[in-house]
Subunit: 96 residues, 2 copies
């Protein structure tokens, strides 16, 4: 992976630690920025991933920005359904 | 309530619409800023409250800032337990 690349992680149904380890791997492989993304009920888990990562693994990770938004998906019967999203942008201090 | 006051809403176990209505009431009563706070599993609900409020009720609400953090509470057996928190700061455009 090139230096100064941005990687994205989508939070889903797996255990929190799976995503923490995925973030660690990305930073270790040279990503300068990792964006943690989630929607719906997984939003809480995304915040947990960032908390655990910063508290227990890489203390020099900074939150560069947090965005919340809306995504429209096809719900039951094909009706459009609005769902909340979050996007948490992390950078390792020292990288640019 | 005085003009330019900041109000806080803590998201808990009630239905999403209860909190949406609470926000509406606060803005209607003159709050210039409302901070939506939640922790743990309620974080997703906090993001839903903000989304529904902005999509369906007050379109000129801006997100001034989003913070995520950690709170330490007493868990089972009195052991300290870290819990994720979110704080979403909302302002009504036109108010200062």
């Amino acid at each position: 992976m090139a230096i100064n690349s941005t990687a994205e992680i989508y939070i889903g149904k797996k255990a929190v630690m799976s995503y923490v380890l995925a973030c660690l791997t990305l930073f270790h492989d040279g990503a300068s920025e990792v964006v943690v993304k989630a929607r719906g009920r997984s939003i809480s888990k995304a915040v947990d991933v960032v908390r655990i990562l910063r508290e227990n693994f890489i203390r020099n990770i900074k939150i560069r920005g947090i965005e919340i938004g809306t995504e429209v998906i096809a719900g039951r019967n094909g009706r459009p359904l609005s769902i909340s999203t979050i996007s948490i942008r992390l950078v390792k201090e020292g990288s640019t």
